[in-house]
Amino acid sequence: MPLRLLKQGLLGGEREPRFFPEQGELRDRYDVVIIGGGGHGLACAHYLAKEHGITNVAVLEQGYLGGGNTGRNTTIIRSNYLTPEGVRFYDASLQLFKGLSEELDINLFYSTRGHYTLAHSDEALRTMRWRAEVNRHHGVDSRVVGPEAVAADVPGIDLECGGNHPVMGALYHAPGAVARHDAVAWGYGRAAASRGVEIHQQTRVTGIRTAGGRVTGVNTDRGAVDCDAVVSMVAGSTPRITAMVDLPTPIEIYPLQACVTEPVKPFLDTIVVSGSLHVYVSQSSRGELVMGAAVDPYSLHSTRSSFEFVEGLADRLIDLLPFTARLRVNRQWAGMSDLTPDFAPIMGTTPLDGFYLDAGWGTWGFKATPISGQTMAATVAAGRNHELIEPFRFDRFADFQLVGEKGAASVGH
């Protein structure tokens, strides 16, 4: 036990500084109101203050910080996407992640693991080659490897997968990583608060006021505030916010479930994903296997878990890693993922002046936390879309300019 702790316990003395300042009353007016105190919202607040000098900012969170999808994902960070737009964007995020523990002065447990996306068919292998070529063209380390490379890195794997769907190869992405997701939100929140940003938890936005085609303020369950800009960064609650300003969107909400097993000795260093088996698995620093699958079969605004999910996942995982049949599931949970038709996000300006959207994060939002915060902050500061997010603009659907990311966004769609 550190002596400092003993001394403080016995003698009192200087208290540890609070991570976040005490929460006061809402001001009458802010330059920018960010709805949603998850990773994206807090990152945006941080970059608004740090890179654009905009500190009269409030982050309004209906629950607690990082309690939504920021704390519910399986923490995988990678940039081996399919479209050039996606690869550029997610790789910029991965680069920011690498220096983030330093920048935010908090240990994010950022751990580069390597990432295998298994192919069980010729079609899947073709998509892997395609992704590898696009990735390498943009300087991202991805390559197609054979089954023997997978077997060497994934102890206990059954390459035949029970004889039903043998592994024919994989896309190997060396920079694939995991990080401690709550710490990302806390780190960004603390950094933003230290520059004067106000963070208000348990503050629910109930309406958005407009006049003459532009945003003038928001109503909350703690009173009304005026503002010039509103940034909605609420992932699974996005349709409820866009409904407040009568903005039709293509976003549909599907629960995405995940679970962890009991902790076991470290054996799995890499992240393993199989689109065909609808399963992804990595081992946390605590030793648990962190696992997820595809989204639930139908739309629902709920974070309930289901037995069908664990049953289906276990059935397929045992094909891939037979010894996991002995492991017990410790916890399961769900988040509400906001899916878009092309599996790319919707970011930036909207037809309503002063209303900015950072949404459509489906099953791929956590890895984009730093770059979303940075590009959305730049977008709000300039009043026009940052160049990196222009392909993800709100009106791309009306123009039929979709960003087809389905082949790389997640599993089992």
């Binding site: 349709p239 909400i253 079969p297 709920s302 069908e308 659907f397 009306a398």
Partner: protein
């Protein structure tokens, strides 16, 4: 287990059904491109009582159900005549 009480096929478990998405009427006649895009992409994403297509795999029958997307309660099976519409002839 969630069950649905359907006409003709009786009470069946939800796991026998495949989700077919929101019922949206396509734009008719010579529609504007924006109306086509709206129909193709936009959805009622906010929690609501939603009319949805559900396909019963064992019998290959389609049904329209009214479901609360917040509570996940299926309120009723919508009779076909309520959702049917005339397709304009050329």
């Amino acid at each position: 287990m969630k069950v649905i009480d359907c006409p003709v096929i009786g009470t069946r478990p939800l796991s026998e059904f495949v989700y077919g998405g929101e019922v949206r009427r396509p734009p008719m006649d010579a529609a504007e491109l924006s109306a086509v895009a709206d129909h193709a992409f936009n959805r009622s994403g906010a929690p609501t009582l939603l009319r949805e297509w559900w396909f019963h795999r064992p019998t290959s029958r389609w049904f329209v159900l009214e479901r609360d997307t917040l509570s996940d309660r299926i309120e009723r099976v919508v009779p076909p005549e309520e959702v049917a519409y005339a397709i304009p002839t050329l």
